[in-house]
Structures are given as structure tokens and as C-alpha cells.
């Protein structure tokens, strides 16, 4: 069930009413409802994969208890931790990466003149959200191992923590210290929190249905036929893709956070206006925050982080970005994408500018950004957008073909979409979208923060009206990050 489907708009109010009116007496009954609802939510994709979620839940539930039980013996604890890591990584390996490794292995042999029959590959589909919930369950065992939390003995709460439907299939990847503690505690209905949730859902839907789905047909056309378009059209296409992927994923995250609020639960922020970043390091503090945080806590810091020598830190950065790229998909394009970001990040790190923008936003104390800041924003956006060529291309040869075409055919020709979409509509839309996002850039959890009720009402009406203007029933509207 996707957040932008009619089923969800029947499911959500129904479960909301049951949650606060029927099952509101005890936390346990509320958790039972959420768990059943979450499994139902997931089963509409493919009920068979519920067993994977259940397996991951059971393994980490017991691993958590066993790590805690062997408090005196660090090496036994480590062994149990490895059970969790190996189990979850094996799930990912089998369902997400097996065919990639098998294909790469066969390709490598072909380079040396040997041919291996392709019977090695498996005909398996990728279970939706597997990269997200396996990371979440692993983080639970890791946090217990690092003594940041105590394990829960309440299996129901733990299962609810793993399968909590707003963030089950595409994050934010939650840590037990935040989400599980809320699930085990009593939730009270909070009017303001609910209203904030509804607003976030509206804003998320806008980003998904208008920004992401609006430009999607243009991006699809340009990437599918890149060898027929001139360079500037390709730049236009990849720029629109930057907006598409941002609208799609941050829209999803907003709906997830908003939906969780309706049930009295606060999820962590996943996007903090990443396209207003002044360097690549700031970008990664603002883009897919829950994943970056996960890698920082569980990979980068255990490797020594930045407290080791410069060169070891650089090595750690490379490892993080390559793994992060590979996490996104079993394709060399994602590994290149990660590698490119590592290359863009390292100079910022070596110049000691990787944390200077951590606690402020562009134009912090002014209405408009300074000329320098505008330059920084454009440069960062260009770097990130360039990397998106790898992210969006089907294969490495397509990605390099795309880049070569930009260089060799660097010319302008008016772009006409085969369906005849009016391009001016999209320019106006994106122009006002960027202006509006700049206006609200200080608080990603409150997109309609205006004192005047009338102004707020006008904004709601404009947002809904724009959804009406850009709604396109003619193509698949699933979320991009579901494939990861």
C-alpha cells in the first residue's frame, strides 16, 4: 500500500479512529492494532515477505536479550552481535545483491575468455523496504552491544518497532532509543501534534504528486532517449531528476513523519532542505539524515571516524560512501555514485569545512542569501546533480554515454516532450517551489509556519490547487526509494 494510493486514504483514517477511540485504553492493545495494521499495510505488496520481517524481528529480539544476558563476557556478546549482523546482511545479500554478485562474477570470467552459464542467477524479486527494516533491527542489536540501550522483553513492542507502518518501507531508519521507547510508553492524544502531522502529510503529498510526479515523465523521456538529445537538454533532464528524487523521497519521509504523529509518535527528520547546502558535507547532513546517521554511528565511528590520522579518515570516508552507494542498489552505477560523493567530500574534509555549517542554515540572519552563499549553493547543487547521472542511469555505459553526450553535443535546442507538455508550467512551478522552500528552510517539520490564519489558509488552498493542476493519472506513481 503506497502513501499516495486510495487504499491508504481509507486505511489511515480507519486505523486512526480505532487507535484513539477503540484501542485507547491500553498501550498493548494500541500496539496490537499498529502491528496488525502494519502487517496488513505491508502484505498488500506481497504477504510472503512478511515472513522475512518476522524472521528479522525474532532474531534481533533474542539477540538483544542474549547480548544483555552476557554482560560480563564481551566476546560472547560480540558473537551474538555477529549473529544479528550476519543474518540481516544475508537477507540483504540473498534478496538484493545475490544476482549482482553472480552477474559481476560471470562478467569478470568473461573478461578472461571464460563463459559461465547464466543459470547462476536467481529469479527473485526484491522485498519492498528490506534495506530499511534490516538496518533498523541491526541498529537495535548494535545499540545494546554498545550499551546505549537495554533490550526490551516485550516482544509485541519490539515487533511494532520493526514493522511500524509509516516508516517500514522507506524509512526514516529509526533507532530503538527514539522509536522503541515511544512504543513502550503510553501515548496520549495531542491536538497540536495531530494537526502538525496532517500538515506534514499534505506537504509530503504535494512534493510527491506535484514536484516528483510532475517532472517524472520529462526525466523518463530524456534519460530513455539521451542519445538523441543535445547536451543542454540532458543537463535540464538531470536537473529535473534532482528535483524529482528530492520531491519523491522527502515527500515520502514527510508523509511518514506526519502519519506517525497522528499516532502520537515522533520520528526523526530525514530531510532538512538538502538543496540549500553550501558544500557537500552540509548536503550529507541534510539528505537522508537517518541513513547518514546510521552509517556514522555504526560504521564510520567504529572505524575510528575522524579521530584517527588524516589518511585513515579519508579511507573511512571512502568506505562509508561506497557502502552507502551500494546500499542504494545492486548496480555499479550506485557504487560510482557513492565514489563520486566521496571524491567531492574529501576536499571539504581536508580543508576542515565539513562541520562548519552544522548548526546554521543558509541566510541564517538575513532575508536573502549572500552572493557567496548563492555561489556555494549553485556549486553544491551542480555537484550533487552531476552525481545523479549515475544514480538514474540503468548502467555505467549509459551513465558515461550521457556524460559524453553532454560534452560532445553541448548545444541548445528547444525541448519538446513527446506528449506535448508545456515546459513553461514546470519552470514556474519549480521557481516558486524553490522560493517557498527557502522561506521555510529553518524548520523542516513545520512547512506552513505562518502567523496569520488567512495566509495559512491561502497556502493550503494553493498547495491543493497545484496538486489538481499537476495530477497526472497516466503513469506509475510508485515511490523511487521503494526499489532500495
Amino acid at each position: 500500500m503506497a502513501f499516495n494510493s486510495i487504499q491508504f486514504f481509507i486505511f489511515l483514517p480507519l486505523i486512526f479512529l480505532l487507535y484513539w477511540f477503540v484501542f485507547n485504553k491500553k498501550i498493548k492493545t494500541q500496539n496490537v492494532l499498529i502491528l496488525i495494521g502494519s502487517y496488513f499495510f505491508y502484505s498488500l505488496w506481497d504477504w510472503r515477505f512478511l515472513f522475512l520481517i518476522l524472521a528479522s524481528t525474532i532474531v534481533d529480539y533474542f539477540v538483544g536479550i542474549l547480548i544483555n544476558k552476557n554482560n560480563e563476557n564481551r566476546s560472547v556478546q560480540k558473537k551474538w552481535l555477529w549473529v544479528s549482523v550476519i543474518f540481516n546482511v544475508s537477507l540483504l545479500g540473498l534478496f538484493k545483491y545475490y544476482n549482482f554478485f553472480a552477474d559481476s562474477f560471470m562478467d569478470m570470467f568473461q573478461l578472461f575468455g571464460y563463459t559461465i552459464k547464466s543459470t547462476w542467477t536467481l529469479n527473485i524479486i526484491l522485498p519492498v523496504g528490506i534495506s530499511f527494516y534490516t538496518f533498523q533491527t541491526m541498529s537495535y542489536s548494535l545499540d545494546i552491544y554498545y550499551k546505549k540501550i537495554k533490550p526490551t522483553k516485550d516482544f509485541l513492542s519490539f515487533a511494532t518497532f520493526v514493522a511500524f507502518f509509516p516508516q517500514l518501507v522507506a524509512g526514516p531508519i529509526e533507532r530503538a532509543s527514539n522509536l522503541l521507547s515511544q512504543i513502550t510508553n503510553k501515548r496520549e492524544f495531542n491536538y497540536n501534534q495531530t494537526v502538525e502531522g496532517i500538515k506534514l502529510i499534505l506537504w509530503g503529498l504535494f512534493k510527491k504528486m506535484v514536484i516528483a510526479d510532475g517532472v517524472a515523465p520529462i526525466v523518463d523521456d530524456i534519460f530513455a532517449n539521451y542519445d538523441t538529445y543535445p547536451g543542454l537538454t540532458l543537463i535540464f533532464g538531470v536537473t529535473l531528476f534532482s528535483f524529482q528524487v528530492y520531491g519523491d523521497f522527502s515527500g515520502y519521509s514527510d508523509i511518514a513523519i506526519g502519519t506517525a504523529k497522528l499516532f502520537g509518535i515522533e520520528l526523526i527528520s530525514n530531510f532538512k532542505f538538502p538543496h540549500f547546502s553550501r558544500n557537500v558535507a552540509e548536503y550529507w547532513q541534510r539528505w537522508h539524515v537517518s541513513l547518514s546517521t546510521w552509517f556514522r554511528h555504526y560504521v564510520y565511528i567504529p572505524l575510528g571516524g575522524s579521530r584517527v590520522s588524516k589518511w585513515k579518515s579519508v579511507r573511512n570516508i571512502c568506505i562509508i560512501f561506497l557502502i552507502s552507494g551500494f546500499w542504494h542498489g545492486a548496480n555499479w552505477t550506485f557504487i560510482f555514485w557513492g565514489g563520486f560523493h566521496a571524491l567531492a567530500y574529501i576536499p571539504v574534509f581536508l580543508l576542515g569545512r565539513n562541520t562548519i555549517y552544522k548548526n546554521n542554515v543558509v541566510g541564517e540572519n538575513s532575508f536573502m542569501p549572500s552572493i557567496t552563499e548563492i555561489g556555494q549553493l549553485l556549486l553544491t547543487f551542480s555537484i550533487v546533480t552531476f552525481s545523479r547521472i549515475f544514480f538514474r542511469s540503468e548502467s555505467l555505459s549509459d551513465a558515461f554515454g550521457f556524460i559524453t553526450r553532454i560534452i560532445q553535443n553541448f548545444e541548445y535546442l528547444p525541448y519538446h516532450h513527446p506528449n506535448g507538455y508545456r515546459m513553461i508550467d514546470y519552470f514556474i512551478l519549480l521557481f516558486f517551489f524553490v522560493l517557498y522552500e527557502y522561506r521555510i528552510r529553518k524548520d523542516e517539520r513545520n512547512p506552513f509556519k505562518f502567523k496569520s490564519k488567512i495566509v495559512r489558509f491561502i497556502i493550503y488552498a494553493v498547495v491543493l490547487f497545484t496538486i489538481l493542476l499537476f495530477y497526472d493519472s497516466g503513469f506509475d506513481r510508485s515511490f523511487i526509494y521503494f526499489q532500495f
Binding site: L468, F470, D472
Partner: protein
């Protein structure tokens, strides 16, 4: 909690009214010409209506229509005479052309190229061969005055029936049509997911075409065609089909040739158009270029038969 529901209710009403106002002010919705059941047992457009149709969102296609006294979208009144040279094109929504300005229809494009002829376009949505032949039979006097007839059919959808029965044109949920916002949402497909959910519960499910085991589907369509032509005989010199041969089973073309039935085929010219779009955004109807291609084929055919004079 109560105040939340109250607020949601009030906001919903206010937002609905605001959006309704915006949709009306910007004329994003389609005016749909009304229907009535005429004396010849055919649902026709109520005569003498004017309005605008909108296809797609953001008014990407916006066109004016004019329903004449006969109930068809045209800048002509349909008054054929013995002296004049009139051609009737009967067909579906592609011929009705609500997606184009009524003064720039396919017929008008042909008229601009050929002198001394008038083209009457009898088009209604899903107006299949049975509808077309029934209309001609029930209005024989009028069609006897018409000098040449072109029957536009889409194979096989216009050959699914072998006899005429009146098609209900009443709108589903007509009360919804009072809200222009809902009309707009229906038109852009925003209500489709709800319709699909209802369809899953078997509400308003479309009837399926009966499958006869003794005939292949294509031979059934040909049999329907034969039946209809036998029931409503036409002088072969006085009419022609207008078809798109792309994707048509060759047995249909073979049948036409065997029976010496003439046809105007616009398929090859669409094929030649290559990547250039011939249909509208968000809609499968022909755009201006598609209509020009069809008009050219008709003009070519008529010129070949010495009908009208080239300008």
C-alpha cells in the same frame, strides 16, 4: 479530538469552495453538451448548445464547441439540398471533435482544400457502425440528399454488435456534475482510483463481450459487418469506410477488397509521422496534426474520385 474533527470539517468546506471558485474562474473544467433521446431512438446532443471542452489538466487543450440544430458539433447547419454537394462523415468522438475548435474540424480542413462541397460531421462518442447505419436508415430522406458518405470505424470496437440497440447516454452520478471541481477531477482521472475500488466490489462493472466458441473473434467481427450491411443496404458507389489499417487483422482488409467496399486508410500517414505526436496530451484523440493527416487522406480520396475541385 472533537475540535480536530470540527476544524477538519470547516477547513474541508472552505477549501472545497475555494477550489470550486478557482476551477470555475480559470475555466479548467469541461462543459459537457447535454443528451436527450430523440424520435429516431438515438441519444443526441440537445440542439443549439455552446460551450468549451477542456482536455487534461492546466487547460492544456481548450476548445469551443457549437452543437447545431441537428444536435452535432459543427459550424454548419445540416440542410442538404439537391443542388449542393454534401458529404457526411459519420463516426465517433474523433469525428465529433469536441477536443478541437468547431471551426477547425476535419471536415472544415477538407472544405478549405476542396471547393463547392460541404462536409457534415455526424460524430458522437462510441458511435459504432450499428449506430451509424441506424441513424442513416431512420433519417433516409435527409441522407438521400447527401451525395457521399464516409463511415469512420475503428476496428474492431465498432464492429462488436450486429444490430442496433439504443445506447444509454445518461451521466453516471449526474448530481456530481453540478460541481465544476468534481467535473475537473473526473476529467483528469483523479477519481479513477475510487472508481477502481468500487469496480473491485463489482459496482458498475463493465459488461464483457460474449465469446462465441464456434467463431474466432475476428470472424465474428466480419460476420457482424456482413449482417449490418445486409440489414442496411447501401449503394457501394456512394460511400466509403474511413479506417486505420495499423494493427487491423488483414482478414478485415481482405473482406473489404473482396466485397469491393472502398476505404480511406489514414494508417500509413500516421506511421510516416514517426515521433511527431498525432494525439493530444493526456488523451488519445487526434491533435491538430493528426486531424490534418486524416483530412489530407479524405481530400486525396475525394480528389481521386473527382468529388469537389482542388483549390
Amino acid at each position: 479530538m472533537i475540535s480536530l474533527f470540527k476544524k477538519i470539517f470547516i477547513y474541508s468546506i472552505l477549501i472545497f469552495l475555494t477550489l470550486e471558485l478557482l476551477v470555475r474562474a480559470l475555466h479548467l473544467y469541461s462543459d459537457v453538451p447535454k443528451w436527450y433521446l430523440a424520435e429516431d431512438n438515438i441519444y443526441k446532443r440537445v440542439p443549439s448548445q455552446n460551450g468549451y471542452t477542456v482536455y487534461g489538466n492546466r487547460r492544456q487543450v481548450f476548445s469551443e464547441y457549437r452543437i447545431n440544430k441537428a444536435g452535432y458539433n459543427s459550424y454548419h447547419e445540416f440542410n442538404p439540398t439537391e443542388q449542393g454537394f454534401e458529404i457526411a462523415i459519420l463516426g465517433d468522438s474523433f469525428i465529433e471533435g469536441l477536443h478541437q475548435d468547431y471551426y477547425n474540424s476535419i471536415g472544415r480542413k477538407v472544405e478549405r482544400k476542396l471547393a463547392n462541397i460541404k462536409i457534415y460531421e455526424y460524430g458522437y462518442p462510441e458511435f459504432d457502425l450499428a449506430d451509424q447505419l441506424h441513424l442513416m436508415a431512420r433519417n433516409k430522406k435527409l441522407f438521400d440528399l447527401v451525395d457521399f458518405i464516409i463511415l469512420e470505424i475503428k476496428y474492431p470496437v465498432d464492429l462488436l454488435r450486429n444490430e442496433y440497440a439504443v445506447k444509454d447516454r445518461e451521466l453516471a452520478l449526474p448530481f456530481l456534475r453540478h460541481s465544476k471541481l468534481l467535473v475537473y477531477m473526473l476529467d483528469i482521472g483523479m477519481i479513477d482510483p475510487i472508481k477502481n475500488v468500487l469496480r473491485n466490489f463489482d459496482i458498475g462493472q463493465e459488461p464483457t463481450i460474449p465469446n462465441r466458441s464456434d467463431l474466432t473473434k475476428d470472424s465474428l467481427y466480419i460476420a457482424n459487418l456482413e449482417n449490418l450491411l445486409a440489414k442496411y443496404p447501401l449503394d457501394k458507389k456512394q460511400w466509403s469506410f474511413l479506417i486505420d489499417s495499423r494493427g487491423v487483422n488483414p482478414i478485415f482488409i481482405d473482406f473489404l477488397e473482396k466485397e469491393n467496399i472502398e476505404y480511406i486508410d489514414y494508417g500509413p500517414s500516421f506511421k510516416k509521422a514517426g515521433n511527431r505526436p498525432t494525439t493530444l496530451v493526456f488523451d488519445r484523440h487526434w491533435n491538430d496534426y493528426g486531424r490534418t493527416l486524416v483530412a489530407r487522406q479524405i481530400e486525396k480520396y475525394l480528389s481521386g474520385r473527382q468529388i469537389g475541385n482542388n483549390l
